[in-house]
Symmetry: C2
Subunit: 317 residues, 2 copies
């Protein structure tokens, strides 16, 4: 099973949504040490970005000293950074990526289905610099209702290393994974990845299903640290591989790093809950659900009723 299958841990990148991309130095050191000892291939360390308004921490910009330091602590891992297509244009690519060449193996792009066309030249520019390219299309749970971009998937052939199905809302079920993976495979020979969120506690079973359907790379984070309800938990994936497939997993290293992140979780409290379940089930951005609830403009029942009648204002997709 391990042959061919790749794993990517993106704790610092996805977890940064809770810490504004700042992390304690000792925590990062322990994390890197755990990554080195676990059967994980790629470690995504953060974003690279043009300067945005407001304060954003080190792991949002990943300056050269940070990439160098992390590569020093994880010499045996392939390091990854991600670009957010909505903030980055083709004119930014040289500035953002030339400094990465010595440290970074793969550059991924986070892409809305509507921005598929705009992301193609970005992918080309990244590939020309010699990086592996991850093409991460978001909002998987609404792909079937919004199929236009599916026809464009053949454009990535020969250009992209991993085409990612990103379940941003944590809203897909194993049957959806099967259906969509089959559809994607009919459009491209590119390797396929799956990035699952855990709103409906489908992170692990969706990832297992994706692997069964021929996916080549799976994302996870320690303790599931990540936006809203969070991601597939690396420790759950490791336990599955160790128990079912006899992978050699260093549980003591894993246990130590999980304990470190659990301390942070006591403060930030990521993980699923009823509002996140609802946002997953109805493919609704979790920040909207949380903001509506926190403003007390709507009760949970009111939000759900409005959704069912499709009358809440704002961008549901």
């Amino acid at each position: 099973m391990k042959k061919g299958l790749k794993l990517l841990d993106c704790t610092l990148r996805d977890g940064g949504y809770y810490t504004n991309w700042d992390f304690d130095k000792q925590l990062v050191k322990d994390y890197c040490s755990a990554m080195e000892s676990l059967p994980i291939d790629y470690v995504e360390i953060g974003y690279r970005s043009v300067e945005l308004d407001g304060y954003l921490g080190e792991y949002f910009y990943c300056p050269v000293y940070k990439m160098k330091e992390l590569k020093g602590m994880m010499p045996n891992k392939k390091l990854v950074i991600i670009l957010d297509e909505k903030n980055v244009g083709i004119q930014d690519i040289d500035d953002l990526l030339d400094p990465c060449v010595n440290f970074i193996s793969m550059v991924r792009i986070a892409i809305s289905p509507n921005s598929f066309d705009k992301a193609i030249p970005l992918a080309k520019a990244i590939k020309e610099k010699g990086f592996e390219v991850g093409f991460n299309i978001m909002y998987m749970s609404s792909w079937i209702e919004n199929k236009d971009f599916i026809e464009k998937i053949p454009l990535i052939d020969g250009l992209v290393d991993y085409f990612y199905m990103v379940d941003s809302y944590g809203g897909v079920f194993p049957k959806d994974v099967e259906q969509i993976a089959k559809l994607v495979k009919s459009k491209t020979n590119c390797q396929i990845g799956f990035h699952g969120h855990d709103n409906l506690e489908m992170g692990l079973i969706n990832s297992i299903t994706a692997i069964d359907c021929g996916c080549s790379i799976i994302d996870s984070t320690i303790t599931g640290m990540g936006r809203g309800a969070g991601n597939l938990k690396t420790e759950l994936l490791m336990t599955y591989f160790a128990s079912k497939l006899n992978w050699d997993v260093s549980f003591d290293k894993l246990s130590d790093v999980v304990a470190d992140f659990e301390k942070l979780q006591e403060y930030h409290k990521w993980g699923t809950n009823l509002p996140y379940m609802i946002s997953g089930a109805y493919s609704l951005p979790q920040k909207d659900v949380m903001s509506w609830i926190s403003k007390r403009r709507y009760s949970i029942g009111g939000i759900v009723n409005a959704l069912q009648e499709q009358v809440i204002e704002g961008d549901v997709n």
Copy 2:
């Protein structure tokens, strides 16, 4: 979908493992009110038991005044109590069940696969008193390696209302549910139930799979409150039914009772974690994993290594 399918909430019974079966009066009142407004058929309120050593709270013994009070607060629900086969003999049945006749609709028995034969006369005695009978066989994740009792399943025909597959270790996956449900259905015409734990976050998908395989009744608890990693969460099941099957769910009532139990969860901290994942994946009693870790006799890695070599002393099943 709702036609034929029954739901059972057992928050007080399974949650009692964390509170020694004591619950705050106002919390129980709010819980009963939520149950009355949700599409749940059965509410399991606790154990009935002969007196055991040491202090055990009201919901472990469910005295008559408690059953009466709860029935008064949930007049539209079928109330359920459970007997633990290892503590209860046929000679105790009159004393334990005669006082229940006016309040309780179903009596379940928690049964180790090895005690199948001993549980049959208990089921007969319960049925003769006019109760529905639930026959809850534990340790589902080790049934396939320990198949002897499977051949005895036909003995329950005509005697038992629900034959329950209980995933005590939270160790089964959807494929196991399919395989075992098919096997059970080949042995009996009795209605089948599924009681899932959440060690590997399989509670919901296993329950959906059980329903797809023809199971008639599913258990859950508010916030998943229950032994160790806990149960399928009632709010997750409700969100699934509301979003996928258009069930009419009172999300405000649900949200209020979830918030009440979340306060209790901050103290007791049920839910899965790495030790519970390991106990699920290896079908190991979670109390043993927790006790080994808390005594620091073994590291997590040491426990897993020993399990893989099957050298740890004690009852693994």
